[in-house]
């Protein structure tokens, strides 16, 4: 899939994950080219979240390897790995009344000594992440009082403060209203153009077609298809993977694919 020579991007091969005896991720090979924004799609229970956790190296697979920029992620020292990869979970919350700025500053953890204070460059990176994720107005708010959508953007800011080269996100558009969805995905596209390799699990196929040039389609723990969005997202595939009837149109302004679903009879 990635060709014989190793890319500088993300390459996973033969990933198996078993949970309670059940194979949740089953021999997955996938790759994401460097500096691109790809979508991971598939029906509920396809194994998207589990695969993302493995790709982010927060969960060890039963077997298989995950390489990024030529390094096996699981053999990198943890802190070094956390300076390269950051991961935004689907739902994360805390009991602690931290300010939004404190939360974003947690992203600097792998870059700092355990006993040293944040220095000026840390503060600058945190400020930039807050601005990029558009949470400046929330900076002094208590994170436990935020709405789900606001919190999601704060978690994105925390991931950006980590200054990653590889950014993995599980449903980053969850809880967001449509304007916020467009701005978050737009931001991920901008990050990719600046060289960050981005992979996000997305439910909304039209967000995937609008922002991602590549998709990986997961079904039953296996890669069903992967490649250029316009080539992969066909009515036949949507019917087989999701069991829905759909027509793929062309967006009148962007020219990108637009999926129109037919109601069940």
């Amino acid at each position: 899939m990635s060709g014989p020579d190793k890319s500088e991007g993300l390459d996973a091969s033969r990933i198996d994950v078993r949970i309670d005896g059940r194979l949740i991720v089953d021999g997955v090979d996938c790759s994401v080219a460097p500096g691109t924004f790809s979508a991971l799609i598939g029906p509920n229970g396809a194994g998207k979240s589990t695969l993302l956790r493995v790709l982010a190296a927060v969960e060890r697979p039963e077997s298989g390897s995950v390489e990024f920029a030529g390094n096996e992620l699981f053999s990198l020292p943890r802190r070094q790995r956390a300076r390269v990869v950051s991961f935004v979970e689907q739902d994360s919350s805390t009991e602690l009344s931290l300010t939004v700025r404190d939360v974003v500053a947690l992203g600097r953890t792998p870059h700092q000594g355990l006993f040293s204070d944040a220095n000026a460059s840390d503060d600058a990176i945190v400020a930039k992440a807050i601005e990029a994720a558009e949470v400046g107005l929330l900076a002094d708010r208590d994170v436990t009082t935020l709405s789900g959508g606001e919190r999601q953007r704060v978690m994105l800011a925390k991931a950006l403060a980590q200054a990653p080269q590889l950014l993995l996100l599980d449903e980053p558009s969850n809880h967001l209203d449509i304007a916020a969805q467009l701005s978050v995905l737009g931001l991920l596209g901008t990050l990719a153009r600046s060289g960050v390799t981005v992979l996000a699990a997305l439910h909304d196929l039209n967000l995937a077609t609008a922002y991602c040039d590549h998709v990986i389609v997961l079904q039953g723990g296996r890669v069903f298809a992967a490649g250029a969005t316009s080539a992969v997202l066909t009515p036949e595939l949507l019917s087989e993977v999701y069991g829905v009837r759909a027509t793929v149109l062309q967006h009148p302004q962007t020219g990108r694919p637009l999926v129109a679903f037919s109601p069940f009879e």
């Binding site: 309670d20 956790r53 982010a56 927060v58 943890r78 802190r79 070094q80 790995r81 956390a82 300076r83 990869v85 950051s86 991961f87 979970e89 994360s92 919350s93 805390t94 009991e95 602690l96 009344s97 931290l98 300010t99 404190d102 939360v103 947690l106 992203g107 953890t109 792998p110 700092q112 355990l114 006993f115 978690m155 980590q162």
Partner: protein
């Protein structure tokens, strides 16, 4: 800033708590006596009253400070690691396990050092709690808490059984006082045990503030920030068991200090652990000094076990914390 003010309050608390009691002693006399024993100058006090300061009240106050500090820090760490604001060493069965270990040594004459037995009891209880929690599937905070309750109940039952079979007459009152939590008998050996535990377990915990902060959003989030989640959790839990075990061995089980003090300190300085842990230690020390002073002076000449004082103050605050949680849910 806050830390400096609290450190001064702690020093003043130690000084003034020593002045309180049937034999009245001034703060200046307290320091005169202390300096004399450190080799500076003559004691301003008679031999008898000097003995009251140096042999009785000072070790007792220092033990209270160390035990309060140790319990408050243990509570703050448990709350962070289980992401449960109602957590403390009692919750995961550590204190009951430590009590059982200590009672086994005291009453059954098992020949190991009391603090070691309490530590082993705390570790055993913690191990059982986590084993039970993990046998239910993935270890979650609520499973850990429920398992802790079960282990705690079992350890308490065995403790009661041991006491029931072996204790007679006068020692009954003594052992009951210890079980309820008491610093009445604390002399210099107790000070040595409590401060050694603070030094070898408390200090490393207090230096791990940034690591605990990374747990704010759970294990996955901590792992994504480069933290070795399992090793950190086990190391810190073992250090907490050591700290709790040592404190229980000198003072019995004193409740609620670990639960409520970290909350009070969060109101002062916010939830970030690098400030929270050392300040919880100081405030925990101040709190227990005054709770113990109240325990020995309010019904003078009768003494209450200090655990009763902390429970009378702590239980209503615990109830308030519960109702606040409910309104959040």
């Amino acid at each position: 800033m806050t830390g400096a003010v609290l450190a001064i309050v702690l020093l003043l608390s130690i000084t003034f708590a020593i002045t309180i009691g049937p034999s009245s002693i001034t703060p200046v006399e307290v320091w005169g006596s202390v300096l004399h024993h450190l080799g500076i100058g003559e004691s301003p006090l008679s031999l008898l009253r000097d003995g009251i300061v140096w042999q009785l009240r000072l070790p007792r106050v220092l033990t209270a400070a160390a035990v309060g500090a140790g319990l408050a820090v243990s509570g703050a760490v448990m709350q962070a690691l289980t992401r449960n604001p109602l957590a403390d060493p009692y919750l995961l069965g550590l204190s009951s396990g430590a009590s059982l270990g200590a009672v086994a040594v005291l009453l059954l004459g098992i020949a190991i050092l009391l603090p070691v037995a309490a530590f082993l009891g705390a570790m055993l209880a913690l191990g059982l709690t986590l084993l039970l929690a993990s046998s239910l599937g993935r270890i979650t905070p609520s499973r850990t808490v429920l398992s802790g309750l079960a282990v705690s109940a079992l350890a308490s039952a065995i403790t009661s059984l041991v006491i029931f079979w072996t204790v007679t007459g006068d020692s009954y009152r003594e052992i009951l006082g210890w079980l309820l939590g008491s610093i009445a008998g604390a002399r210099w050996p107790a000070v040595a045990i409590a401060f050694t535990a603070i030094l070898i377990a408390g200090l490393p915990i207090m230096l791990s503030g940034r690591i605990l902060d990374a747990f704010a959003f759970g294990d996955t989030s901590a792992a994504a920030l480069g933290i070795n989640v399992n090793r950190t959790r086990w190391t810190l839990l073992a250090a907490t068991a050591l700290l709790t075990g040592a404190m229980v061995s000198v003072s019995g089980s004193i409740g609620f200090v670990g639960l409520i003090l970290p909350h009070a300190v969060r109101l002062l300085v916010g939830p970030r652990h690098r400030a929270l842990l050392p300040l919880s230690a100081i405030v925990g020390g101040i709190f227990l000094i005054w709770a113990d002073t109240a325990a020995r002076s309010v019904f003078e000449p009768r003494e209450l076990p200090v655990g009763i004082v902390t429970a009378i103050i702590g239980a209503p605050i615990f109830a308030i914390l519960l109702t606040r949680r409910r309104s959040e849910a």
